[in-house]
């Protein structure tokens, strides 16, 4: 069990409970921040992979430089595809600095150009750490024009920056320790998940 410091008592409680239990998120009038199931699972600005009409939502808070996010990404997409009824929401939470932010910006820019899935796949398939050149190479190899992606991002900059800010706020409110973190149904699973773990969690979400 994770040990808790006083600093993390509240977030830690959330996390500890989330690890083994289900989590009900409710709206709070007192707080300026809103943390609702709706906001976490159905953020209207976040692109959706998998089956947009699926009955179970998998949310992954991730970073394009997070090794475990990338290592398990193929299993995640394959499990979602095999199930056929899973909404997959990849929430950009860039925690590894400027290169991660840049990767997220260009991938979200691709969403305006109907290319989010390909951009996401290309970036998740990169190896090791990223810099601007790596990012450009990976997206270029997937057929993207970097200038166009950048322009698309800038065109809707408020939307995308707002989305990433919300993601980061949600991560904090959920007490997420880092990436990857999964919310499947309404249960929080911190850390990397392999295919059997994902299938179990999906089944649990269906009750």
């Amino acid at each position: 069990m994770s040990r808790l410091t006083r600093r993390h008592v509240l977030t830690g409680t959330l996390l500890a409970a989330g690890a083994a239990g289900s989590l009900t998120l409710i709206r709070t009038e007192a707080s300026a921040e809103e943390l609702t199931v709706e906001a976490v699972l159905y953020d209207p600005d976040n692109p959706v992979l998998g089956n947009p009409d699926g009955d179970v939502t998998i949310v992954e808070f991730f970073d394009y430089q997070c090794p475990y996010c990338k290592a398990n990404h193929p299993e995640l997409t394959e499990t979602a595809a095999a199930d056929g009824n899973v909404r997959l929401v990849m929430k950009d939470w860039p925690i590894f600095g400027a290169a991660s932010v840049r990767a997220s910006q260009l991938a979200l820019g691709a969403a305006s150009l109907q290319g989010y899935r390909a951009a996401n796949e290309a970036l998740m398939a990169t190896e090791g750490r990223l810099d601007d050149t790596h990012i450009a190479d990976a997206l270029g190899a997937a057929g993207f024009d970097i200038a166009a992606l950048d322009a698309a991002y800038r065109e809707n900059r408020d939307t995308w920056d707002g989305l990433m800010r919300r993601n980061s706020e949600q991560a904090a409110l959920l007490g997420l320790r880092g990436t990857p973190a999964f919310i499947i149904g309404t249960t929080l699973y911190p850390g990397a998940m392999d295919a059997p773990a994902l299938r179990g969690a999906i089944a649990a979400a269906r009750g």
Binding site: P67, E127, R177
Partner: protein, 600 residues
Amino acid sequence: MTEYPHASLRLLRFALPALRVILLVTGLAASVAAQGNFDTSDAPMPPREAFALSVEERPGGARVLRWSIADGYYLYRDYLAVETSGGASVPFDSEPGVRHDDPTFGTVEVYYERAEVRLGPVPGEISVTYQGCQEGGICYPPVTDTLPALPVSAASGQGATSAAAPQMTLAQESGLVDGLMRRGGTGLVLLAFFGFGLLLAFTPCVLPMIPILGGLLAGQGETLTARRGLTLSATYVLAMSSALALLGVAAAWSGQNLQILLQSLWAVGAVALLFSVLALSMFGLFELRMPRVWNDRMAAVGRGRRGTFGGAAGLGFTSALIMGPCVTAPLAGALLYIAQTGDTVLGAAALFSLGLGEGVPLLLLGAFGSRALPRSGRWMEVVTRIFGFVFLAMAAWLAARVVPPAVGLAIWALVLVVAGVFLGGLDRHGAGVAPAARLRQAAGVAALGAAALMGLGAASGGEDPLRPLAGLRGAAEARPAGKAVAFTTVRSVPELEAALGTADKPALIYVTADWCITCRVIERRVWPDQEVQATLSDMQVIAADLSTFDADGQALLDRLQSVGPPTMVFLDARGREGAGTRLVGEPGPQDVVASAREVQ
């Protein structure tokens, strides 16, 4: 711009208490979580527990940051960052990490188990950012910890001079030990320090120990054999070396030079008293009962009389700490090395080795001197009496360090009275007295005469035992010699900075103290030198006086990154210390001239 996660974490810390969360722990979810191979014991630790940061603060404001990394977690080397409160990045040293060729990681360097970062002195608060992952689990967002400001004694390398340190930049030099270590490893360090010890053996730092050991051996009387003499001196030398090693440990523990701290009225007074008692015992006033316990205990080792092994060890230990509070270059080097690296073991071992080197002449004295010393009869009595006076003189010399100069003079007067009386200065002889006895009496009368002069001097405000009546002369004429270099005396950091602020000239800061024996040598040999005076005439000369060693004194030492007097720091007109110009220990006039020219 996208907000970085740690920034929002900070923001939300305030929003969290307002958040109401209802947790519905259902058995179903728990069982499924288990079924799905989701092991809750792998739940990631809070980052500050997974990467437990401890900060070691070094004298002078440097820091060593150490992370103790939990099993199954790692830190990224590349994501370590240190910034000032103003956001300027602070350079630091980090060790190479483990290089991963794993495609998942790419070519990143990571730390398992532990990580260490070394920082120079930085003014103000600093923030330390670090980032890592739980292996096979999650990667944490960057964690930023703020460290409080430290008293900085040297402006940091990147030239960020703080308000508190406006005028002085000290040279950063790799130390003596460091250099030796790089060239020849631990063996060379120990060997070199043994050699330094040998060289130091006949300096005023170690010289007083020869009569002390001589007295100890002479006190043995009939029991003294060459073997016992050697064993006793070996005990003395080992205790002395241990005391030096202890200096290293104490420096690591407290960041201070214990030797200097021991120059207090009480410590020095107690040792002076000990020497008086030893002296009286040598005069045969009483058999020393104090070491009786030791005697009994040491009976198996050797029949103890007066001086015992315990006594030898005790004398050796106190001698090193209190008799010769010399800050020599090797001692300063070892103490600074320990302070900078935290490598207590090597530093202490080097100092132990230094002590052994210093002890070589003492061992020779023990082995060969024992034969020369009489073991019984009238000569034995004479020799013990003489050493009794040596001990008495030691006591007076020690006491004079911590009492006002006039009182010191009075103490000397008293010692001379005792000497004069013991020499028979006041005896009445018949006509048929042997010439030897008359000579002895003459010496006694001379001693009494000198005592009278000193007593008069003490009563009239004299200070120097060699010129007791100086106080009777006019103030204008007083103290002509040795003061040709006009030092501005400072006793605290603000005074030092005020003094430095007054002129745009190169400066010499001379760390000194009344109790610093080597400083007396410097004052006699170095400052009166014509060339030194000529060279220093265009410089501002400041004496940092540590005679009363208190918090201000320690702050002054920290500011100058010195472990004690004598140290000379040479600053150029812009207040920067010249590289390689610092002089520690007992330099010659030429060294001072060379260092001074370097900064002019």
